[in-house]
Structures are given as structure tokens and as C-alpha cells.
Symmetry: C2
Subunit: 412 residues, 2 copies
């Protein structure tokens, strides 16, 4: 007897047969006595097909008209899923984002949800209906249709769960849950039973793409338990919540890696009060996201400043630095590709001072050179050569006791 | 310098290339100094494809969810057409039915427009934009999406033209306009330059499917001139208005035929005050549309009642009659298929008493037997054998001087 929000992604509804299967799954949840609100993405490749049609007409479509176009994908899904529920005897109603009371900023393509007025949803739930809501969309105060951008359907589901004070928000996907690391790299990676919001956020930001960081942030803000699980099995998946139990003797929850890393270094910058400020202000003005920053003092009067950016931003970042090289009186600018970032994540490491040291040990033992290091309270990241990233993940997975055999789950 | 509503049907926007062509056409109208509101249908077979998907899920979809589903078709068209206009430098905005202020009855699948609040359209026009409105749809007072049923996009266009007091409503189609008769039957059928609302209504109701009768009714009610023209040529097409000029010496404007005709007869019904009432009340209760009705008195005490229905309704109509046969004390019920209706239409016939006689003459000369006759002020219809319908149309086209060679237009 709970109030449950379920979110099904595009791969879970990619054909009408898939939609029927999802309807059966929802029916099971209803039959167990729960009230259910469902959030659905567009079927399979629908969004890409719509974008392709727009591309046949223009290569610079207005964001407003793109929103008008692509939101039809979710509208089709909700109507068909609602029909499939009714066909198997479950009373239901589909709602567009606007009908569901999802109010967004007056921005197109990447609007944030301002608030949700859940009156209509409450009314339909009270009538005993399953409410099927189009993900990824809302309306502005002017009645314009706006999309939420990447990860939008996850965010819709979590925001709805917060607005109606749901007991849990279930995110259905095509994997069994969140893994200790990418199962394609470490085949004996284990499914994690519980993980905290903060750990999940670090993993999500570090390239574990099961959940979008915005959705995790929203769940953390409103303290909505998230359950990531497979739409193809009945397994419980991974529970994401405020305080997650650590398994016996574990310090690290999971290991992430990211190949979209490039490094830029300003070498031999004479000391000046505002040199760091100058560099990063110019980068921000160009919308370049900087990740790890290291300033190393070479001798008393000169230091090296290096930082990482995504590979796409490398050329732009080098241009920016060449523009300030003279002003800073730097001796050289070095740009480097072919790098990767490997990270260990775990709330337990705050109280375990030796964790970073253990990480460096494990990498060194495996013959992997560390180029940069960055730490936070629940994360340590190292930049290494891209060619060694799989070896690094395997070494760390073993070193931190994550591949214990008794709980091995075979990844799909 | 006029305010023009243009409506483009599904065949005019069936690919992105077609959409670009339509955008070019709209640009021409704008460049001539006009303000333009455009109504668009779904692309080509989109609506059928959506209905087919629903059919894979259920064979009794709720009308509400069907409306949610199929209205996405028009939403895709308006977004793409608006992008195509912007791409060629024409400022434009797409609107759903709801955003355009089209308010409908709280009925799904065949709602009627209650009113249109054109504030948004006026605002966008004032900003110098072409306003592209999704046809066939509106919203109810509860914010539900409702479709208008058959001919819906034509009706949207005419209703919008009325609401914004447009100077003319142009209906773009894949033929050159309204013809004196079906060019597939009479290859030298001529395009009509002008026709009155009433004549157009008769022709539309009689199977000339260029315009939907509801749209013509609406245009008549608000006195909006309609222009039916081809989206592939620059020809002026056919103007539909209150008082249409008759060409020199013409009495008949056009000839229609309909093969969807079946006849039912109650034979030997003894006179009773309420026998007609009884029969047609029962038929109405079964939602059977009756067209021509003839009551012929056989002798003082007994009459035959016969009427036509559409072929689809024949079985149901026979069932109804068999149910009342005893009560009416009728001697026999005869159901007949394989019939057709041929009609001459023209406002001029009111003042020309010999028109019906000329029609019977022409048919008889051509060896065609007349089974039933029905007349109105601007129309005479005869029911004949379906096998003779083409001969009948040709004979009447010649007899009423419609195939004069000096104005021959070749039909597409």
C-alpha cells in the first residue's frame, strides 16, 4: 500500500510489444495494492527520427520549434501505454507534461522545472487510475511547451515523486542496477544493493550513466528514495537513499572511469596574485567546464598551472590560454590528449585516511603512472594514460575488495 | 494587403521536401504584403500509422487516448513547417490547437468547435509572424485534447478565418478546384470558377469530396469566402461565396454521383397515422442516416414506404424494419443494393421549372431507368442502377451544356 512513481526509458517502450510488457508490470504493482504514477520516455529511436526530420529542413532549428516537435514522442508513448493498461483492465489516463501540472522556466531545450501543481494527478489517483505522464517536458507560464534537456525523464519522475510525496521512485532501465564498476571492463563487477545520494552523484558525474546527475540531485534535495532496476527481471536493483549501509569491511562503493579527458598546462607562470583568477574567468566566459585543477610550485617565484577539460573543449581551451600567455608571462602551454580519469567513490573514505594511499599503491603496483590527482570527501580521482584505464579499474576493483566472489552478479 | 488563412492537407506536406515547397508558397503570399495564418494536417499517412500502432495494442482504444495519440501528427507538421519558414527568412511560430485558442466540446474523436479566442494569434500576427496552427484539434475547458473528426482541418481553417475576420480562406489540395463533375468519369469536366455556399454544400454532401460539408457550412454561416486551389500550381482555383455568378445560359453548376447507396422498401403498409413516424424514429435510434424517402400510395388504404441508406447501414436498417414489420402490418420488406445516386446541382434551377423534366429526359434517352427521385430548391437527385452511373453523369453533363469546349480544363 504505497504511492510509487515508476519511470520507463525509451528502450523499455521501444515497440508496442514492449509497451504491453510494461503495462503488465504496472498491473502487477497495482494488484499488490499500490497507487502508481508512471513517467515514460519516447519509444526507442523516435526522438532521433524527429531530430533527423528537422535536420532535413534546417541545420539551425529554433529551440522553441524543436521542443514543439520532439515532445510529440512522449505524447505518443503515454497514449499507447494508457491504452495498453486499459486493455488489460487497469483504469488509467495519460497526461502531457502541461496537463500533469509541470511548470518550467521560459527556456527551450534545457528548461528546469519550477514547480509541479499536482491537483490533477491527485484527482486521477483518487479515482483509482494509474496516471501516465509524458517525461522530459513541461509548460512555461505562457503555455509554451518546453523540454528539460538531457536526463529529462529521470528528472520528471523524481520531481513528480517529490511533488506527490511518493514513497519511492523506481527508475526502470536495461541493466540490473548500479554496479561497482562498468561490467564491460570488469566482468565480475557486482550490483550494489544500496548507495547514498552523494556517492551516486559522484558516480553519475564520473560517467556511470545509469542515472542522470540532475535526477539524483533532485532526489537528494527532497529525500526521495530511488530504486534503479531492470524492466526485464523482478530483481530489486539498487536503492539510492540518504544513508546507505556499507557492506562489511568496505570503504569504496564503486569505481568510475571517464575517457573524455584532456589536459592543459601553463608552464612557468611567474607568481602574481590574480593569475589563477584571470585564467579561469576567461575559460568560464567561453563556457568551458574545468574539472581537476592542479597548481604546482616549481620554485619560489614560478608555478605550473594545469587542469583537465573535456576532449571537445580542448582546442577552445588552448586558444584561451594562448590569448593570456603573454599577459601571464608563462613560458609554455602544453595540451595533452589520450588521457583518462579513474575514480574511487565511497562515503566511508572520510574516516579512513589511508584510502588515497591505497589507491596510489594499487595503480603503481599495476605499472600505471599517475599524472594528476584530485580528491573530495567521498572521492579520489587520478588522471592516467587512456591506454591503461581498463587495467587501472581492474586493479582498483580488486584492491578495494569489490570483486568478492560470494555475491557475483552477471551483468547483462 | 489582406489577412489570409491557408490550409494545407496531408498530401501537400507528406515529406519534408513537400513541407519546404509549402513554405516557399507561403513566403510568396507574405512577400505580396499579406498577413498569413496557416492550418496544416498531419504528414501523409502519419495518422493512419498512429492508428495502426494503437491497433497493435487494443481493438477498442478509448476515444480520449486516441485523441492524445493522433494529435501528435499535426503537432509534428506545424513544428516542421515553422522551421522551414524560418529557414527561408520568414518569421513564424507554430501553435497547437489549444495554444491557438480553439475551444471544443468535451467530446473526443468528433468534437465541435465552441469558440476561438484569437488573442494569441493576433499578437503573433502583430509581431509580423506567420502563425502555423495544428488542424483537426482543440482543447476542452478541462484542458483535454480533442479532435474534430472528419474534415477537421478544413473546419479549423474556416473557423479560424471567421474568428480573425480573414479576407479569404484558401484550401490547398491536390486538384485544381471544384469541377463540374468527377474528372475520372467525364475527362472533359470543367473547373468551376465560382460557386455558391449552398451549391457547394449540395455537391460536398453528394460525394464531391474536395471540401468537407462542415467546413462549407461554417464558411456560409460566417460569410467567409473560400478558395479551393492546387498546392502544385498558381491557378486561382474555385471561389466559394454567398452569391456566385452563373455563366451565360447555365442552369446547372455541377453533377455529383454517389455509389454508396442502398434502398429499403416496406411494401403494402396499411394506412395509419403514425407509421412513418414509427419507422424513422426506430432508424434514428439506431443511428442510421436516411437520405431519400418516398411514400407512394398504392391504393386508398395501402402505401409503400421506401428510402435510401448508405451501403454500410443496409443490414442494420433491414433488421430494424423486420422488427416493426408486424406492428405495421406490412406485407413485405425489400432490400436492394447495386444502386447509385446521380444529382444535378445549381442555384439557377429555382427559377427554371423545366430542369427536372430535362434531367428525366436525358436519362431516359440514355436508356437509364429511374428508381427514385428527390428534389430540393437547388438539386435534383435520381436513384439508378450502379452499372449505369457513368453513362448517366456523361449524359447529364452534355444535356446541361457543361462540356462546352471553349473552357476545357484538363484535370490532373
Amino acid at each position: 500500500m504505497a504511492l510509487i512513481v515508476q519511470k520507463y526509458g525509451g528502450s523499455s517502450v521501444r515497440t508496442t510489444d514492449h509497451i504491453k510488457r510494461v503495462a503488465g508490470r504496472i498491473k502487477d504493482t497495482v494488484t499488490e495494492g499500490n497507487s502508481v504514477v508512471v513517467v515514460v520516455s519516447a519509444m526507442g529511436d523516435t526522438t532521433d527520427e524527429l531530430i533527423e526530420m528537422a535536420g532535413q529542413i534546417t541545420n539551425k532549428p529554433s529551440a522553441r520549434e524543436m521542443d514543439m516537435l520532439v515532445t510529440t514522442g512522449e505524447q505518443v508513448s503515454v497514449a499507447l501505454l494508457s491504452m495498453a493498461l486499459q486493455e488489460i483492465g487497469i483504469d488509467s489516463i495519460s497526461l502531457t507534461g502541461g496537463q500533469a501540472g509541470i511548470r518550467t522556466e521560459a527556456v527551450h531545450g534545457k528548461a528546469r522545472i519550477l514547480d509541479i501543481q499536482p491537483d490533477r494527478i491527485h484527482r486521477e489517483l483518487k479515482d483509482g487510475k494509474v496516471v501516465v505522464v509524458a517525461g522530459f517536458q513541461g509548460v512555461t507560464d505562457d503555455g509554451e511547451i518546453a523540454t528539460l534537456g538531457r536526463g529529462g525523464s529521470d528528472t520528471t519522475a523524481v520531481a513528480l515523486a517529490a511533488a506527490i510525496q511518493a514513497d519511492v521512485c523506481e527508475i526502470y532501465t536495461d541493466v540490473e542496477g548500479v554496479y561497482t564498476t562498468d561490467p564491460r571492463v570488469v566482468p565480475h563487477a557486482r550490483k550494489i544493493n544500496e548507495i547514498s545520494y552523494d556517492e551516486m552523484l559522484e558516480l553519475a558525474n564520473l560517467g556511470a550513466v545509469v542515472l542522470h546527475p540532475r535526477a539524483v540531485e533532485c532526489a537528494k534535495q527532497y529525500n526521495i528514495p530511488l530504486r534503479v532496476r531492470s524492466s526485464f527481471t523482478k530483481n530489486p536493483g539498487t536503492l539510492v537513499k540518504e544513508e546507505a549501509e556499507m557492506e562489511q569491511g568496505m570503504i569504496v562503493r564503486g569505481i568510475a572511469h571517464d575517457l573524455n579527458v584532456a589536459k592543459v598546462a601553463l608552464v612557468g607562470v611567474p607568481h602574481r596574485k590574480n593569475s589563477l583568477q584571470l585564467v579561469f574567468k576567461k575559460l568560464a566566459a567561453e563556457n568551458i567546464n574545468v574539472d581537476i585543477i592542479v597548481q604546482s610550485i616549481v620554485h619560489n617565484e614560478v608555478s605550473d598551472i594545469s587542469f583537465t577539460v573535456s576532449v571537445d573543449d580542448l582546442d577552445k581551451a588552448c586558444d584561451v590560454l594562448n590569448g593570456v600567455k603573454e599577459e601571464l608571462n608563462a613560458s609554455e602551454i602544453v595540451c595533452e590528449e589520450g588521457l583518462a580519469k579513474v575514480s574511487i567513490v565511497g562515503a566511508g573514505m572520510i574516516s579512513n585516511p589511508g584510502v588515497a594511499a591505497q589507491m596510489f599503491d594499487a595503480l603503481t603496483e599495476a605499472g600505471i603512472g599517475i599524472k594528476m590527482v584530485s580528491t573530495s570527501e567521498i572521492k579520489v580521482s587520478c588522471v592516467i594514460d587512456a591506454s591503461q584505464v581498463h587495467d587501472a579499474v581492474k586493479a582498483l576493483h580488486t584492491s578495494f575488495g569489490l570483486d568478492a566472489l560470494d555475491t557475483v552478479t552477471v551483468a547483462k
